[in-house]
């Protein structure tokens, strides 16, 4: 009897402590932890109170090694940027590692604040349970995570295949042997090998480490976008639930709509949006900056392209993946803002008899506050997406024009076969 009661209490506490946010982002953050970027314990536990940032654990050690490795790569990229002639491929290489490093620092900051964020989210979820109707949040975030990251890994694999085949073609080799691999490493990681002495065995070791660090960097590149997308899905689901509650109340004309309670619920959602935005704003900024730069860069590279089938498949796939990811991210993040505006329309249809002070307050609140994700200095809305697209087109036209002269004079066969931006 006592045992039954005990399990009942455990069950109740477990249910009371169920945090949808923690469950929804579990898979994503676990992947980040395995990649060495997110040393937070307790992600797999159902009880979100166990989440904590541990200094003395294996994951923290792995994270420390990753940080050291990425620091070295970034420093080497910076050195090669400063040392050699400035060309677009060198700049892109440097920017890739530099933005990657900045994201690493941001993730470290996020992991420190993660348990506080989880507890705030738990508190928030417990205060809006009445309006919660979405059931498939966890499956949506998991699907999105796995789909995008699998495509990212496919793209990475395709780029490796393409690079190795180009080296083979360049050297006239037909199969994968030591010369091919040696040359591939020496060419691909030129900025690394310039500063190490080269003997055959040593270059393999350094080469494979460089490959691993590069894979981590590629993972982080897509990871930022997926993180923002998952947060956006989570936040907009609450707004959608709120909107459906309001519209179902409005359809029942006989009962008065409890506007004061609804306004309080809305304010709770707005508060959690702000709290999450505090953690996410630099991520959004970095993500937009890298997407903008790399889309312009990929478009520019299309002018240098040969029409060979392998290059075309890789290029088209890579470019489409980049554009789709950026577009998906923008639309999901802008969705938070759009969903938050919908209650305004319902308020216009409140009949005069119910037009109380609460309705007026709610109307003022909706009109004069901007709700949504921001990127430090801008708000992510649909209008902003259009401006970004316009910016990309303008920069593209200017880029093409400025380097048109260089295009004709470019005789380097290596650039012809292996555009350096490829990871």
């Amino acid at each position: 009897m006592v045992l039954e009661a005990h399990t009942q209490i455990q069950y109740c506490t477990a249910k009371a402590n169920y945090c949808e946010f923690h469950a929804g982002l579990r898979h994503l953050m676990r992947l980040a932890r395995w990649a060495g970027f997110f040393p937070v314990q307790g992600l797999s536990q159902t009880n979100p109170d166990d989440v904590r940032f541990e200094f003395r654990s294996l994951y923290a050690l792995y994270h420390a090694i990753t940080v050291i490795g990425q620091t070295v790569m970034t420093f080497l990229a910076f050195y090669s940027f400063v040392d050699s002639n400035v060309s677009l491929s060198v700049v892109s290489n440097f920017l890739f590692y530099f933005t990657n490093y900045v994201t690493l620092v941001l993730l470290w900051r996020l992991s420190k604040n993660w348990s506080a964020l989880i507890s705030k989210t738990l508190e928030f979820e417990q205060s809006v349970t009445e309006i919660r109707t979405t059931r498939n949040l966890v499956s949506r975030t998991n699907t999105l995570t796995y789909v995008v990251l699998i495509f990212a890994m496919i793209e990475h694999a395709l780029s490796k295949v393409f690079n190795i085949r180009s080296v083979m073609c360049c050297l006239g080799e037909t199969s994968l042997n030591h010369t091919v691999i040696n040359n591939y490493f020496k060419f691909k990681w030129k900025f690394v090998f310039d500063y190490f002495s080269t003997s055959t065995t040593y270059s393999y070791f350094v080469g494979f480490i460089a490959e691993f660090l590069c894979m981590q960097a590629t993972f982080l590149w897509s990871f930022t976008d997926v993180l923002i997308m998952c947060f956006s899905i989570y936040l907009s689901s609450f707004f959608e639930d709120f909107n459906s509650t309001v519209s179902s109340f409005m359809k029942k004309a006989s009962k008065t709509v409890p506007w004061s309670t609804l306004r309080v619920q809305y304010s709770q959602i707005v508060l959690i949006v702000k709290q999450m935005d505090e953690q996410l704003d630099y991520f959004v900024l970095i993500s937009y900056f890298t997407n903008l730069f790399f889309i312009c860069f990929q478009l520019y590279n299309s002018l240098k392209a040969t029409a060979s089938v392998t290059y075309l498949t890789y290029y088209v796939f890579s470019f489409l993946f980049l554009v789709t990811r950026a577009l998906l991210l923008s639309i999901m993040a802008a969705n938070v803002h759009s969903c938050a505006q919908v209650p305004q329309l319902a308020l216009y249809e409140v009949p005069t008899a119910d037009y109380s002070l609460d309705v007026q307050r709610f109307q003022l609140q909706l009109r004069y506050t901007t709700v949504g994700l921001s990127g430090v200095c801008f708000n992510v809305t649909r209008g902003m997406i259009l401006r970004v697209i316009g910016t990309i087109v303008t920069y593209e036209l200017v880029l093409i024009q400025l380097t048109k002269k260089n295009l004709d004079n470019d005789t380097s066969i290596r650039d012809y076969y292996l555009p350096k931006h490829l990871i």
Partner: protein, 477 residues
């Protein structure tokens, strides 16, 4: 007063409110849309009933109502009579395949996948998609030049247009139902019918003229350079559809006819979406303008009771809700129309400004054996180019300005409301003013941009910027 009791009292009332809220939510009569799928369409019924109904209709058809005999008393009738020509001619091109689209009873208007109109529309869409892919392959094969890019963009935008109109067709019955149920029957403007018909005639005639001029100029070029003893139509088709025939597709007469038909449909499709947007905007603006007129007349009278203002505000809300409902249906059409107009204007302007109106091709033509053989003595190409560009510019301008009128008409009540004298000012008027100022009522392009007058200016600025940058290329060549 005992101040220690107050927080307890307010705390209790908060808890009571929370309990009340929970009780309201758990009321089964409030369906929180937990399961949207159980909502059935009431017009369809099961298969057997539908067949029975069809048979009954055929045996004893309902009396046909003639348009001119019914006085237009409701918004739905006005909408149907005004848009009849537009919608039916669109269906000839496979656009908006809703069955019985001009019917006077809203329950008969249905979108079914198994209708021949839908199949026809999808076929045309697939043909345009194939043309797009082939043009893209040709673009990759040759270097990027203006003609190939223009063909690719043309078939891409018309293909997207066809598929977007399929989506519009799926939302059309809901839209029509909303028009039927909107209680705005006192705001009918009969002139909408004439305006829509005039717009329809103008757009179609200009579009047909453009197509005729294009055919003429292409035939003349073919005739000029025709080697002796070969078929005119065959060499015309092979010369003008390089994206198909350069991939070693053999020429047969039916293929030629199909290709000509595809070109005709695509050309009209290109300007159809602009006409569609113009007609919808005219309809929506008319409702808003009628409301504005009523407000203005009310402002001139001496005393009006508060319920009058309440009804007026509610009518305004219903009108804005109608605008929003239209916007949900047609915003993708607006987006594609603006995007393709922007692209083609930039392309055409660049073509004319960098190559001049008399292009190098014209110079080559003079070396052809039969030059000049056309009725306009060698000027057909120039005429077509100029007409096409001015039609494109005119069309984009007209669409932007007419669609922007919806937004301008929604802002007008504010000035009339501010003129109301002090003794008539009440909370209803204040609420009305708040709504007019705070609500953005406009047609949008997938909510990325709102079609207002300032958009026209920013689009023009964008075009000029891109032209200036593009022209610098040609100067270096």
């Amino acid at each position: 007063m005992d101040t220690t009791k107050q927080p307890i009292v307010s705390g209790l009332s908060n808890q009571l409110e929370a309990l009340n809220f929970k009780a309201l939510l758990s009321d089964n009569s409030i369906n929180l849309n937990r399961n949207r799928k159980h909502i059935k369409s009431t017009t369809r019924g099961n298969f057997r009933e539908r067949i029975l109904r069809k048979v009954q209709n055929r045996i004893s058809p309902e009396p046909i109502q003639e348009d001119s005999k019914i006085p237009l008393t409701c918004q739905f009738q006005l909408f149907q009579t005004a848009m009849k020509h537009l919608l039916i001619s669109g269906q000839f091109m496979g656009l908006n395949p809703v069955s019985r689209i001009s019917d006077h009873s809203p329950t008969k208007i249905r979108f079914t996948v198994l209708s021949w109109k839908f199949v026809y529309g999808v076929t045309i869409g697939i043909a345009q998609a194939c043309a797009t892919v082939l043009c893209f392959c040709k673009l990759l094969k040759d270097s990027v030049n203006i003609v190939a890019l223009a063909y690719f963009a043309f078939y891409l935008s018309t293909g997207c247009n066809t598929f977007i109109f399929l989506r519009v067709a799926s939302k059309w019955p809901t839209l029509i139902k909303h028009v039927y149920e909107t209680q705005l029957d006192s705001y009918i403007d009969v002139k909408v019918k004439n305006k829509c018909f005039a717009a329809y005639i103008i757009f179609f005639s200009m579009s047909m003229t453009e197509h005729m001029l294009s055919l003429l100029s292409k035939f003349v070029i073919t005739m000029d350079c025709l080697p002796k003893g070969s078929d005119l139509f065959e060499s015309y088709i092979i010369r003008n559809f390089p994206w198909l025939f350069e991939f070693d597709v053999p020429y047969y007469l039916p293929i030629g006819v199909i290709l000509q038909f595809l070109t005709l449909v695509s050309t009209i499709n290109w300007s159809y979406s602009d006409l569609f947007i113009v007609c919808m905007s005219i309809y929506l603006t008319s409702i808003l303008k009628q409301i504005n007129k009523k407000i203005e007349m009310a402002g001139n009278s001496n005393h009006l009771p508060i319920p009058f203002w309440r009804t007026l505000r509610e009518d305004y809300t219903r009108a804005t809700r109608l605008v929003r409902s239209f916007d949900d249906t047609i915003s993708s059409v607006i987006f594609l129309s603006f995007a393709s107009n922007l692209f083609f204007i930039c392309l055409q302007l660049y073509n004319i400004l960098s190559n001049g109106v008399t292009s190098k091709y014209n110079l080559l033509k003079e070396m052809c054996p039969n030059y000049p053989s056309g009725p306009l003595g060698g000027y057909e190409q120039i005429m077509y180019l100029l007409f096409s560009l001015s039609f494109l510019l005119g069309r984009s301008l007209v669409v932007s300005l007419v669609a922007a009128k919806v937004h301008s008409a929604s802002m007008v009540p504010a000035s009339a409301l501010y003129n109301i004298p002090r003794n008539m000012y009440c909370s209803e008027i204040q609420r009305f003013l708040d709504q007019v100022h705070g609500d953005k009522v406009a047609l949008s392009g997938l909510r990325f941009f709102y079609v207002t007058r300032s958009l026209v200016l920013s689009v023009a600025g964008t075009i000029v910027t891109y032209e200036l940058v593009l022209l610098q290329f040609s100067n270096e060549d």
